[in-house]
């Protein structure tokens, strides 16, 4: 509740400043030449000091990708992407660790400041020696951050506290070197290299991302969080995230994104793989706020992501919550493969499109285990001349006796020129399965706005209130801090959509 007045402030500040996070950082970079070839992949693998199996895995993915075609089934349109016109590797130049914040590149600090990262964390992120020593106070509600600054994770915080309970949270490049057996066992096990065009591309050229391992019976003592930022001009971002929760383990992970304003369209093709064993729970929350382009849609991010979780164990649970407000184009279907008996998959989503944005997003729930259950709550909000599509698949295999799914898809239209589309696919091959689907489409009615304004709310505040009400079932699934952030983002992204 207290977020509302903040939401209003944000709207006001953003009205005056345009895209709040549209800044760009200028730091010395180590950049590979443009273009994709086996040599580019060898260069990435070499820079990352990877073992040879990793390079081979990448090259195999590259071969698969060469034989694939860019998919065009989604309800999105974009200019042709020239895959040879992209830098596949860019890293801030490594220097010996600075002694204090004074020695840190002020540009980098400013970037962190604009991202709203607290000072202490900024020091840790910037790699100030010793900044992570006296750190974390148990139970203080802190959040561990693994900042992906362009392609290299500059630093990781709160590692010490986490390692005490055996949790591994580090850049995936480091995990490949330090925990090769774990990585080798699970990478590509949920999203195979040749799963789809963008996943294959990612597998070939991914530069960094996060690795999380929660050992048996451990409840991760804090929220784990990554700030993704795209920074170098024309550097496609190919993040790779792998999260493994052993039997009885619990983890909540948050991915938040902001990006600098720029002219060229930027491709982002991440892959996220989650693995949950018996009784394990993984909660993966995303607040996505990449630059959506200007009012005409010029210059926004292309977000083509493959996210999938495997509920391998009995009673395991994977829950995806996403608030998608940014990007020019979003193509994203976080999915759950429910293999374990009585395993649970959840998908809670708010997708907002304004101006010329296009979003084609949804989920896939694949029921294989007996008694597996899934819940899908998808809220689409379209304004301006945008297009918003929910695309969902619920598939029940013959083995999934007693499987259940509940799907609720609601669309809210603001204005006359936008579009909302719902494309549910249901395939049930077990008679005992129960699948329920509900869908609604509504508009913000004039009389709702008038009622609010008669009580003293401005038109914009009224829209925010109504939109937040519409999204409530999803927002309440987010960790508290991020729910507040998400409300701000909703307000910002719908700014100027009425009146």
């Amino acid at each position: 509740m207290p977020a509302d007045s903040e939401t209003l402030d944000t709207v006001r500040s953003v009205t005056q400043s345009g895209y709040k996070w549209g800044f760009e950082t200028d730091i010395e970079m180590d950049v590979a030449p443009k273009g994709l070839s086996a040599d580019t992949i060898r260069l990435i693998s070499e820079r990352k000091q990877e073992p040879s199996w990793m390079l081979e895995w990448r090259l195999k993915a590259y071969q698969a990708w060469l034989a694939m075609e860019e998919p065009h089934w989604a309800r999105v349109e974009h200019a042709r992407i020239d895959y040879q016109d992209i830098h596949y590797y860019a890293a801030p130049k490594k220097k010996p660790g600075p002694k204090s914040l004074d020695e840190v590149d002020p540009e980098l600090l400013r970037t962190y400041e604009k991202l709203g990262i607290p000072l202490k964390e900024r020091a840790i992120l910037a790699g100030v020696e010793g900044a992570d020593q006296d750190g974390y106070v148990e139970g203080s509600g802190q959040i561990a951050v693994d900042a992906v600054f362009d392609s290299v994770s500059v630093a990781t915080t709160f590692r010490a506290t986490l390692s005490k309970v055996g949790v591994i949270f580090c850049p995936i490049s480091e995990a490949i070197r330090e925990y090769p057996d774990l990585v080798r066992q699970y990478i590509g096990s949920v999203v195979p290299v040749a799963d789809n065009f963008f996943a294959a591309l990612n597998s070939a050229v991914f530069t960094d991302g996060s690795f999380v391992f929660i050992p048996k019976g451990v409840r991760c003592p804090m929220e784990l969080s990554t700030y993704f930022r795209m920074n170098a001009r024309n550097t496609g971002q190919f993040e790779r995230t792998l999260i493994i929760a052993e039997a009885g383990a619990h983890v909540s992970y948050l991915e938040g994104c902001t990006a600098p304003q720029r002219d060229e369209n930027q491709l982002h093709a991440a892959v996220v793989e989650l693995v949950a064993m018996d009784d394990a729970t993984i909660k993966y929350s995303t607040v996505q706020n990449w630059y959506p382009g200007d009012a005409e849609g010029r210059g926004g991010i292309y977000n083509f992501v493959t996210k999938r979780g495997a509920c391998l164990g009995a009673r395991s649970k994977i829950s995806w919550t996403q608030v998608e407000t940014g990007s020019a184009i979003t193509w994203k279907y976080p999915s759950c493969v429910l293999l374990g008996e009585d395993s649970v998959g959840e998908f809670y989503s708010v997708a907002v499109t304004n101006n010329r944005q296009q979003a084609d997003t949804g989920t896939k729930m694949i029921h294989i285990g007996k008694g597996s259950r899934s819940t899908i709550i998808a809220k689409g909000i379209s304004a301006g001349r945008s297009n918003n599509t929910y695309r969902g698949l619920v598939k029940v295999l013959p083995s999934a006796a007693g499987a259940r799914n509940f799907t609720q898809c609601d669309s809210l239209l603001i204005g006359q020129e936008c579009g909302a589309h719902t494309v549910p696919y249901i395939e049930s091959r077990n008679r005992s399965a129960k699948i329920e689907h509900e869908a609604t489409t509504s508009k913000i009615a004039e009389d709702q706005l008038f009622y609010c304004r008669q009580r003293g709310l401005s038109e914009e505040d009224a829209v925010n209130l109504i939109v937040n009400g519409f999204c409530k079932d999803v927002l309440k699934e987010l960790p508290m801090e991020f729910a507040v952030e998400a409300q701000k983002l909703l307000a910002v992204s719908l700014e100027g959509s009425v009146g």
Partner: protein, 249 residues
Amino acid sequence: MLDIHGLTASIGGKAILKGIDLSVPAGEIHAIMGPNGSGKSTLGYVLAGREDHSVTGGTVTFEGRDMLSMEPEARAAAGLFLAFQAPIELPGVNNANFIRTALNAVRRAHGESELDAVQFLKLARAELKRLAMPDDMLKRNVNVGFSGGEKKRNEVLQMTLLRPRFAVLDETDSGLDIDALKIVADGVNALRGPEFSALVITHHQRLLDHLVPNRVHVLAGGRIVRSGGPELAKELEKSGYGAMLAEAA
């Protein structure tokens, strides 16, 4: 406090208000009665600034200010409150959050500090108690799944929390049981004072028993055809509009 002169308004090109003259001095309560479709609700909406009701002529001044040039939210901030004949549902919007957001918007407009959730709840619970309404009224979504009577009570709750200087109550007594009727009257009477005025639209004398008006006006065909003291309402109750309208024609 409120002065209406020669007010004409139309909806979708159709003239509905055909020249209203009405003054409500500070501290007074005036009742408006009249047959269905005579323009009573339209008058309330026009005063509140509803955009699809176009004002085609006349003036409305509120405490000396030209109210017709103000946005609906500015009128609310100036102290105007309209209790809707058919209150609007806001799905997913928590009632407490809604009223607090509204109250804070009005407080901000007056340069007053905003109330946090705790301060507001304290205030709201006290008000609920006074109005003999259940606590869960605040927890529910604005008017969603409310019975007809509950919606009307919720309008009264909002009114007493927002403390307007001028309230228009559009048939707030319709659909209320006897006890609730008294609660509505108490709500208005609680605000009553030299700084508060109200326009009470009603079809029933019984509300006016609890809420004795200074003046009663009869609206018919978009015009005020008769005005009088509280006894006018009693007369209407007995003989209906027919005789009076024939006489006015």
